[in-house]
Subunit: 438 residues, 2 copies
């Protein structure tokens, strides 16, 4: 993965190494613990859903921390927070960061780690006395989780395509509160911040995040170079039958919606066997997660069964084939043309991060790992969505992963070893400093 | 199905024929319409759940109607209503009737028809001036439906085995009201009725009911001689997996509770193919009606799936084989011994009505059908439970069915042709009069 470097690169890498060496493990740990107190739970988890009072207090805390580091704080029409460290020239900035909101019950690191490691990069640059060529901005995106207001990644997706915000404003939470109203209240509470334009040019974006999967831990590797994000397609399959008495209705005359749904589901599962995919072939992942059965009674033949299919793969052509197989299975098992319908209600093509971004990240991760005497970084793909998925539509983007203990996230039991969190911040400091120095 | 008759039988059959010929279609229709006004709905259905104010008013209505026919009204510890027409001798009575409670939304005939046809038999005997040897009692059983307080058929099952009532009294409805308290209120409201012993001797029991299935309608036959009631077993299958992220969790490490549930369900359905059973082989009926998925989210691998299996067959040995196959499938698909559990939470062996009861019923149905120029009666089994299922543990019992339009019941759209309702009451009158005359 090494490439020929111009002399300018050598200078940038020297600056990057110096930034990396000024990352402070104790300072990072203290910052993580301080933010985790906003919505912190007795079980070690964090409950800090987007734009709640707890989230607004956490946002003020971040603004204070960033200002203490000399950053200028700004926001935009979607309430995203930007903390800017000026460059020697007013060029498009290097962007890093993630999100500070959590699931209803989440962990301390999902999102928060990327924001606070970004602020730690600023602190390291300050400590090293480095002035970068380009400005550096640390972002905290609004509503990445999507648990209170759907969909997720509102802040980042609206930043890259502001037209999306119009629809997002009408999303409501379970209490009936509109996202637009909650957002306006948050913006009113940060009237002291500069209002920055949406979709501003960025020279690059790097997001550091916990993996939320078991790959790095399984490989014993502390740092992952994320090469892309799987494509995803979400379907709803509706099987229509006829409700009838379980005792009195002969098998031959039944129109059993569940029997049809099970036959289709069995064929869908067969598309993604549990054996590991062939080497070099991206794995197809299939989840049939949400089921609704009507009337859902022990002794009534189901009249309607609806279930969802979550299909993911890094290879969009594999998803084309899986979608065709799903649709064919539905046609084959339908007793009448209208008895089974398939609705695709969300899809996103695969995200491939550019090699020009992976190269400095791999260099950054290798240096941090080597210095710590740890296993060298590995390349992997992300199964989950991230704000970086949308930023990749806007500027050269990539991600760094650190391991998740047991692959667990969206759970109070989410955890990452402190040594790995430190290495991730070191890798981020190197990457950001190099990108901001050329 | 004809047997050699003694002279006494010939006399009984002559009385039976006279009773049958005095059944009045208009009087029966008026009685059905009058009771249907208690809880009657604009859509033609009836909402008269057990021991509600509407049900209590309907019970008073029935008591008045029975007294107007000269019957003595009594009740017992489970609130069952008995309307007695004395016999020439104080022998164990012939019992007929059904129930007057309905599902939350039911029809006009499910249960009510059997009670009112019983009263029509009394009216016909009165009109014909017949005094029977044995007393005749028309019963309206408490809480057959089981929708407000579970289980169903409380009144009839407690009548035959009074120890059951102790547990039933603790059943609560969705509002938290105990069955025992609702029952005591109903008994207090009928303090003018004689309190009769539970489990009194009965010489025979005949229940007339709508089929609630499509068999008679499909065959174009107005009257069915019910030879028995299918055995039933209810199971709950619990599949335990591990909740995890749909995007980040490789297929090879998943413990997907829904994938296991679907594989088991597919094997269960294969036990009961849709093709008609081989001639002479009782059909196995399988329904997987109730499903609960945790956490039931599009992008989370299910951590727990519970579903129910309703198995029915007239042949208990076939249910033994199906249960063994279900348990084997669960063991085969379990990833760990505790990952799939099977719990049998209800079962009832098949009910076979005795030929000594089927013979007079077949004679009664044949005479009514022949006189009307309709197709001769057919024998069939009941897929649904009925009060007669429990009475069969107590005395010689059988049932008569009339067709259900479209096989529909437990629904406002439940319906039966008036001509068929009349033939059913004629068949009941013949049967009861013959049984009470020997």
């Amino acid at each position: 993965m090494t490439v020929a470097h111009q002399p300018a690169d050598a200078a940038a890498q020297a600056i990057a190494a110096r930034a990396q060496d000024h990352v402070d493990a104790a300072r990072l740990a203290a910052a993580l613990a301080a933010l985790a107190r906003f919505g912190g739970r007795d079980d070690g988890g964090v409950s800090r859903e987007t734009l709640t009072d707890i989230d607004l207090a956490a946002r003020r805390h971040l603004i204070e921390q960033a200002r203490a580091l000399g950053c200028e704080a700004g926001t935009d029409d979607c309430g995203n927070l930007f903390f800017r460290r000026p460059g020697r020239e007013d060029l498009p900035p290097v962007l890093t960061g993630s999100h500070a909101d959590t699931q209803p019950v989440g962990g301390k690191y999902d999102g928060a780690y990327g924001v606070l490691a970004g602020l730690e990069v600023i602190a390291a640059l300050n400590a090293a006395g480095i002035d970068t060529l380009r400005p550096i901005e640390v972002v905290s995106w609004t509503n990445e989780e999507g648990s209170r207001f759907g969909p997720g990644a509102m802040g980042s997706s609206a930043f890259v395509d502001p037209a999306r915000l119009i629809g997002y404003r009408d999303a409501t939470d379970p209490a009936g509160i509109r996202f637009g109203d909650a957002l306006d209240a948050a913006l009113a509470a940060s009237a002291d911040l500069a209002r920055l334009p949406m979709a501003r040019p960025m020279s690059a974006c790097v997001e550091l995040h916990i993996e939320q999967g078991p790959v790095l831990e399984g490989a014993g590797v502390p740092l992952g170079v994320v090469t892309g994000i799987q494509a995803v397609r979400w379907f709803r399959v509706d099987c229509m039958g006829t409700m009838a008495h379980a005792g009195t209705t002969p098998m031959a005359v039944r129109r059993d919606a569940m029997a049809v749904a099970v036959a289709i589901a069995q064929e869908i599962y067969a598309l993604a066997p549990r054996d590991a995919a062939a080497p070099g072939t991206p794995e197809l992942r299939l989840t049939l997660g949400r089921w609704a059965v009507t009337p859902n009674s022990v002794n009534t033949i189901p009249g309607h069964v609806a279930f969802t299919v979550d299909m993911r793969c890094l290879d969009d052509a594999a998803l084309d084939r899986a979608e065709a197989a799903l649709r064919a299975a539905c046609v084959r098992h339908a007793s009448a043309p209208e008895a089974v319908t398939v609705t695709r209600f969300f899809h996103r093509a695969p995200t491939h991060f550019p090699e020009a971004m992976l190269d400095p990240i791999e260099r950054a991760c290798s240096r941090a790992s080597d210095n710590a005497g740890r296993a060298r970084p590995m390349r992997l793909t992300s199964g989950a969505f991230h704000d970086a998925m949308y930023l990749a539509d806007h500027c050269p983007t990539a991600m760094i992963f650190v391991p998740s203990r047991g692959g667990i996230s969206h759970n109070a039991a989410e955890d990452t070893d402190g040594a790995d969190l430190f290495l991730g911040a070191q890798a981020l400091a190197y990457t950001v400093a190099e990108l901001a120095s050329r």
